[in-house]
């Protein structure tokens, strides 16, 4: 392989593969929460993005508190240390929220659309609480080492023109996502409670006839969802930055991920997360430099070779969502039809 090809591969990895994997893992964790709530509670939870923002806000504040006390776990970000406590808090808040709002509609046996509207209300409330407490601005809470591999070091090491950089936040996102997904699937496939959750999602009436306690299943679903949302939000915040509004915007790609994969199906949520993430990254990347390496000299393009400006990245998930709903509403892995 000649140097140009290797440079092209490194460039591709640096700007598409690594960011796509990271963003995909973050979307997958978010979409898993959406899909679990849809499977068990049977409604699309529009509050999921803002629940993520809420959980992350708690992490940010605990991180600041730890930092002020001088507690850090360098080279890892202090936010990791703050996570467990923040997860417990957001689990409690989520359960309280269910008890105060969603349980009432369950008792009334309200239609899924009523639930969706109620969740929209919850979304606004969480949105307001987060802005009230921490404000609408960007918040920095990253510390510790920033890079696993720096582009400059990579260039020096390999002698290539192109560098590959991997941020700590990116490495952490992928490792934590793998651990969480493995744990979640073990829980769903192997434990009594996990199986009860799947049974309840599959056939609610029969689950009741089998003596499965619906309130317990619902509570466990919220607990898992709160944990996933807080972790996904924190990883996203470490990777980019924490700004409440971006979490609300993540709702669209997260829902697109869940639906593309097949809503109600956890495997689908993960695959969907990567499909959406890579579509966004691939379509909005400017290929000029990549092509200069990849094509014979003289064929190099003059333009940026960018299909869509990054400003329109949300249009990508929206288009995919519309296409899936038109062509295959059950998604890749045969989830439920919305």
């Amino acid at each position: 392989m000649d140097t140009d090809t290797i440079n092209a591969i490194v460039l591709f990895s640096n700007f598409i593969l690594v960011p796509g994997m990271t963003y995909g893992a973050q979307l997958a964790l978010g979409a898993l929460g959406i899909t679990l709530v849809f499977g068990v509670l049977r409604f699309a939870n529009f509050a999921h993005g803002d629940m993520m923002a809420f959980g992350t806000m708690i992490v940010v504040m605990i991180t600041w508190w730890f930092q002020s006390l001088g507690i850090t776990i360098a080279p890892l970000p202090t936010a990791l240390l703050a996570l467990p406590l923040a997860i417990v808090i957001s689990m409690s808040v989520t359960l309280l929220n269910d008890r105060m709002i969603f349980r009432y509609y369950r008792k009334k046996r309200s239609s899924p659309s009523t639930f969706v509207i109620a969740s929209t209300g919850v979304m606004f409330v969480f949105n307001g609480i987060v802005r009230f407490i921490i404000g609408p601005d960007d918040q920095r809470f990253t510390d510790g080492e920033r890079f696993i591999i720096k582009a400059r070091e990579f260039k020096k090491m390999t002698g290539l023109d192109e560098g590959l950089s991997i941020k700590v936040s990116q490495g952490l996102t992928i490792v934590i996502a793998i651990i969480l997904v493995a744990a979640l699937f073990w829980f769903l496939q192997r434990t009594r409670t996990g199986k009860a959750m799947r049974a309840f999602s599959d056939n609610e009436d029969l689950a009741l006839l089998s003596g499965i306690d619906p309130e317990r299943v619902v509570a466990i679903t919220w607990i898992i969802t709160a944990a996933l949302a807080t972790i996904a939000g924190t990883l996203y915040g470490l990777d980019k930055s924490f700004k409440p509004f971006t979490y609300f915007q993540l709702l669209l790609p997260m829902f697109a991920s869940a639906i593309v994969g097949g809503i109600g199906n956890p495997v689908g949520a993960i695959v969907g997360g990567f499909v959406i993430a890579f579509s966004e990254v691939i379509i909005t990347y400017a290929y000029k430099k990549f092509l200069i390496y990849a094509v014979p000299p003289g064929w190099a393009p003059d333009g940026l070779m960018q299909l869509l400006s990054t400003d329109y990245k949300f249009a990508v998930s929206f288009m995919i969502l519309v296409l899936v709903l038109l062509i295959r509403p059950t998604g890749i892995f045969k989830g439920k039809v919305i």
Partner: protein, 234 residues
């Protein structure tokens, strides 16, 4: 006094009474079949006995205990099990997981019961790791009955277990139900295939417009000219 006795049941959906004071009783080791024309309230009677609809009048007793005011879930705890007519398996779960879910309330070792069910329905043992939704209609019914039996119930209720299966499968299923009876539990069954069901019944009820019209042994009902003419097609 029978083990399961539902007396003077009156009630239905909303304000309309479908059951007009009907009685159903069943003893352990007995197959009891409810037959009757469409709209006679067969399934409604079944649902009422299991607590899925509220009764306006009447009493349901299990052993020496009144269970009239218990929810279906609590009746499961008391030893009743129900196989609904449709949607009676967890389609996305394996056969074995379906059985495990049937035994959800039990804290003791369920694998002896599971082996017993595999003896009863050998095909389920072969397909234990397959998703139940991928099985044929007759096999699905076996999963459904197996799931219900996992609670080790005293009363097994089947709502039209042979609906939509072929005659051969129906015969096999009835054979299995006879096997289940040998374990000494009460079996209460609603059936459209009245003639075949009455052949295996120890007791049969013919319901018409929510009332008991005929009650007798299965054989006697099959021999009764009135029953034959009106309900069994001659």
């Amino acid at each position: 006094m029978s083990y399961l006795s539902a007396t003077g049941m009156r009630g239905g959906y909303g304000g309309v009474d479908i059951l007009q004071g009907c009685d159903i009783t069943a003893d352990k080791g007995e197959i009891v079949v409810i037959v009757g024309p469409n709209g006679a309230g067969k399934s409604t009677a079944m649902k009422a006995i299991f607590g899925m609809i509220d009764l306006r009048e009447g009493d349901v007793r299990l052993g020496d205990k009144s269970i009239t005011n218990l929810s279906p879930q609590d009746r499961v705890k008391e030893g009743m099990a129900m196989v609904p007519q449709t949607d009676n398996i967890f389609t996305s779960m394996t056969v074995q997981e379906n059985l495990e879910m049937g035994a959800f309330l039990r804290r003791d070792d369920i694998y002896a019961t599971m082996e017993h069910i595999f003896d009863l329905f050998p095909i389920l043992k072969d397909k234990r790791h397959q998703a139940a939704g991928e099985l044929s209609g007759g096999q699905r019914q076996q999963v459904a009955v197996g799931r219900a039996l996992m609670t080790q119930p005293d009363v097994l209720m089947l709502d039209e277990p042979t609906a939509g299966v072929s005659p051969i499968v129906m015969d096999e299923l009835f054979d299995r139900i006879l096997e289940v009876r040998k374990t000494g539990i009460a079996i209460l069954m609603v059936e459209q295939n009245a003639r075949q069901a009455l052949e295996i019944a120890d007791k049969g009820y013919v319901l018409v417009t929510g009332e008991n019209r005929f009650t007798d042994t299965g054989a006697a009902l099959l021999a009764n000219p009135d029953v034959r003419r009106s309900f069994l097609g001659g």
